[in-house]
Symmetry: D2
Subunit: 363 residues, 4 copies
Amino acid sequence: MGNSFGQLFRITTWGESHGGGVGVVIDGCPAGLELDAAHIQEELDRRRPGQSSLTTPRKESDTARILSGVFEGRTLGTPISVCVDNQDARPAAYESTKDVYRPSHADFTYEAKYGIRNWQGGGRASARETVGRVAAGAIARRLLAASGGIEIHAWVSQVAEICAEIDVAAVTRETVEANAVRCPDAAAAAQMMERIEAARRDGDSVGGVVSLVARGVPPGLGEPVFDKLEASLAGAMLSLPAAKGFEIGSGFAGAAMTGSAHNDAFHLEGERVRTRTNRSGGVQGGISNGENIVVRVAFKPTATIAHEQETVDSDGNPRTLEAKGRHDPCVLPRAVPIVEAMASLVLADAFLLQRARHPDQLP
Amino acid sequence: MGNSFGQLFRITTWGESHGGGVGVVIDGCPAGLELDAAHIQEELDRRRPGQSSLTTPRKESDTARILSGVFEGRTLGTPISVCVDNQDARPAAYESTKDVYRPSHADFTYEAKYGIRNWQGGGRASARETVGRVAAGAIARRLLAASGGIEIHAWVSQVAEICAEIDVAAVTRETVEANAVRCPDAAAAAQMMERIEAARRDGDSVGGVVSLVARGVPPGLGEPVFDKLEASLAGAMLSLPAAKGFEIGSGFAGAAMTGSAHNDAFHLEGERVRTRTNRSGGVQGGISNGENIVVRVAFKPTATIAHEQETVDSDGNPRTLEAKGRHDPCVLPRAVPIVEAMASLVLADAFLLQRARHPDQLP
Amino acid sequence: MGNSFGQLFRITTWGESHGGGVGVVIDGCPAGLELDAAHIQEELDRRRPGQSSLTTPRKESDTARILSGVFEGRTLGTPISVCVDNQDARPAAYESTKDVYRPSHADFTYEAKYGIRNWQGGGRASARETVGRVAAGAIARRLLAASGGIEIHAWVSQVAEICAEIDVAAVTRETVEANAVRCPDAAAAAQMMERIEAARRDGDSVGGVVSLVARGVPPGLGEPVFDKLEASLAGAMLSLPAAKGFEIGSGFAGAAMTGSAHNDAFHLEGERVRTRTNRSGGVQGGISNGENIVVRVAFKPTATIAHEQETVDSDGNPRTLEAKGRHDPCVLPRAVPIVEAMASLVLADAFLLQRARHPDQLP
Amino acid sequence: MGNSFGQLFRITTWGESHGGGVGVVIDGCPAGLELDAAHIQEELDRRRPGQSSLTTPRKESDTARILSGVFEGRTLGTPISVCVDNQDARPAAYESTKDVYRPSHADFTYEAKYGIRNWQGGGRASARETVGRVAAGAIARRLLAASGGIEIHAWVSQVAEICAEIDVAAVTRETVEANAVRCPDAAAAAQMMERIEAARRDGDSVGGVVSLVARGVPPGLGEPVFDKLEASLAGAMLSLPAAKGFEIGSGFAGAAMTGSAHNDAFHLEGERVRTRTNRSGGVQGGISNGENIVVRVAFKPTATIAHEQETVDSDGNPRTLEAKGRHDPCVLPRAVPIVEAMASLVLADAFLLQRARHPDQLP
């Protein structure tokens, strides 16, 4: 278990980083949605390695093949199977570390859990696993757009200590894609790129934060009490490789505030109930309130670095590791489409759950 | 849906804050566990209102009745139904605000979702809903202790801007319960209590952070990729009323670090593989590594305050609200047992999942 | 696990036959449905013991209390908790057989599974567990009626070797309730009652068959491939105590037929696509086709009999058992509302699942 | 939804009969199980078309490719993705019936549910969908064998009106595979083959019954009350194309019996508690009792026949249909490995569920 996500729009991902390929089965996508491989490819191309100098040089075209569930350009309502072959897997590169636990990687814990280790790369712990999520997210995104005009944008808001200033209401796909680091604040983006290049030169890596806004979400999505929207989003985001933290709305900063400063006053805008501020981040009591949903996800620095590191091997010997392999000095730019995918999946599921029980409450 | 949590140790909570009562059904607790109502009561007493001057004056004994699943002091393996009556519900107190949306409460969103509003208090959005979680968590905690000595402690690490300094290895139930604010740093605790009293005097409220450590967790718990341990914990914590943020290990601070500074080097301690540092927070690749699991949860300030606030009513009229009702000026002290309960539920589930498939990997 | 049923209209039952009570939590019932305790009571009264000379003399009023999820006569969309106290439990009656495995009861298997036995009656294996199902089914039935006029009727179609002749299109609640055996064929009913009374006089018991029709089910319900409507119905029915077989449409008789004799030809009735015959039983490919859904459920004879029986005890000694206790010589009449409840739950779930994804396909 | 089955040993099948292929993702198979493609192929070869003159002439090698989850001949504990290409799909053969509803097929109901019809063959309603089930079942079977010696055999026990006489204790893979109809009673098998050939010559089809025995199942498997072993088995079997009925143990015949004739007396065999008879079919109260699990599944005659049939088209016109296409005059022989697969999946899941909670109760 653990490889499925969602209740009504449910995905199951499969595949190791250095096996035959990676993929996903989407079960529960409504029939009749216009879909072809290009819709999926557009998002996969934003995730794939080698797209800029900031990313790993591993060469994968990440070409999506749709094997089922789509007929004459429309979804059938049956499972959609999407498969991406691994093309540039180089398992031999991992031969020398096959019995060594790489620090802050999952080698030790996978062996502890399963009693067996796929030493050829990160296996399921590799970010390559997210290919299936992005493919499925692309479909969820289309469903959301078709069903009510929900728009989702993520961007890099922090790299190492460099923070961007962003107006969440103004972010667009174009402003995000305007630079390789996917930060709509051009000045910050320039600094971030320098910082990432510096890390690469040092054989080091840096972490950062991805922010996300979902606009046009109707009030009423989210299933109290355990599947509150922020709970589903938090679970979704923390399931991403390297994620260490999650905030919605005011987040940790809100913890330091008083109620009188934090509360979002209601007022009317035409016939619509709006809040003056959005410290709630678009969600109150686990249910969307119609304001922008705003979340932030913290990612640790990439664990693979070229520095010498203390570790042990599976026979219990002290070892010294100096990683070779290919890797990203900073995962943040490629994390952007992945974070968008997870939010799309959460919202598509929440939308279908609300429509199942309270269709009249949807606009 | 949305009122169940867990896969193998699965709970379903029910009950509104001002209805007949609140409760929980626990399905999947193994048979043969020693259990009586006192085990549950001990935790409920830490959660109940009126336990100190820091909390709401609502008077509830919160007496747990076990209606099924236990026979001659041991669990039967069948569903355990626990029921707590509401005793001091005062729905009339909410009469005057029955059509007013209280700012940063869930009145508006519940009505938007369901098309109907239980105006007598917070309904399912009330913290009273967590009674069932704490009762179930008490059982999960016993299972974890019986199955392998896992110990779980939470404490208040921040109130408003006041932060405590705590050694996570040294926290015990006694140090947590040593003061009403449940902060083991006595000096910080004194300041926190003053800060909460000040908020009460001002008719205001304050937020804060609860930290948690799980000690003695064996390596191997957690189900990649969507049910990684940190994903389950994040989802669990963000399902709590007023929760706005979650971190594991280095959290948001880790986002500003380099890989060389962040990585946790492995070494041997006797035959055991340990890490020199614990920025991973006890989890790597979604699976426990045997180190302390350390998480932090941010809570916003209580939405109920005595200040005048701008709002609207359900007929679309501007209104001014000055809350009366009973409430906590700060939810943090009472959140401690609730956060512990959620962590216990997550770990009990993860433990059973691991035992199902890889029993030989458990100690 | 195992005590929950359904995906979107999801119930969790709890309670042992001789503990504090029995009950159910219904999660996922849409908000706004008119509901009060009388709706539930009406169905419970058809299930309760002591209602006629054909049933066990155990005296239980089976009074339902709704503890949550309903406000001012309408459902809130939150969990509905229903509780029924046990009043006439006589655990002492089981004292003498506490270590004896009663033949064709679940004493041995519960002990084998759980390592512990609640010897006070049948525990969860008792038909008393079905109280929660019937209470939940009453709500599902109201939802189906409100959402599209679906009507569900079950009746006793066979007792021992006596078979009734019934026109499934003509069955009504009145014809079912016209006699104590709940068989709308009055002549057969009279024979069945005699047969049951004869079994009682002999200290013996008899089995039989319950048939069910669901009328007004719109085309399109059912979720291929594993949650086909007949699969969900079969699983639901075989989860009932004493159930041994399930058929839909032609059932086992269909196995002996040729395709040319079995196929249901399509024709038009006004604008509606109809079938000339209904050997499919209202379901094709796992999806309702708009015809009557017709199923049959076989129940074995009650295991509790007054004859002397060979058995063993938990210490491995041969024993001879002569049951005392109270019991039904034939469960069939009381099984009728239970079978209806299960069908209602299956269809309510299927309805919500279809509305989630393909609302425009519903009438 | 609807395309996943199982809780801990969970499979998701995908694929249409005339699309790119069919496949399955298995999530939850324990790590360390020896597995290669040949183990899967052996079972697929028993299911594939064209294996004898009794089956459809469609030519599919049904070669299984394992794309993930297996490394160096052992399972990794991660999802196992198995893919089978469609090779001999001839969608053009369906062009002439693309708007005609074939009687007792799922054309009408799929269109009613999804609002779209994949007219190229049966789509998900085709028996081709069961490829994924058989592949997954082959792995479940290995897990059961490795974990405790559970053996599962199915066979054809009835074709049209011809019934076989079989000793369930003596059935082996060899006796089942001894003839093309997969009936271990050679005399009956010969008659069945003649009957099937006669149906083919007539352009007609016949139904029948598959029986199954699971031997060596330890006491304690099955999760009351909704996931009782017989409930899971019934749901599994009725999810198969063309299945119309299910029985366990005495089944419908038991409905005509008295309790004194039906009850299975307990006795001791060495230290083991056994029953003298097995009308319970190896399950009591939803839990295995250690005796042979015996079930029967009724299949209707193949809906595709060469006779002229009355029907309508999607524009509401009366039409006459004379099927061409390729098909099996009797699905029974190929249903045998499919029924075995479903039973294997149910038991693997039940085994893991029991080990999760009550490992000490397993032998």
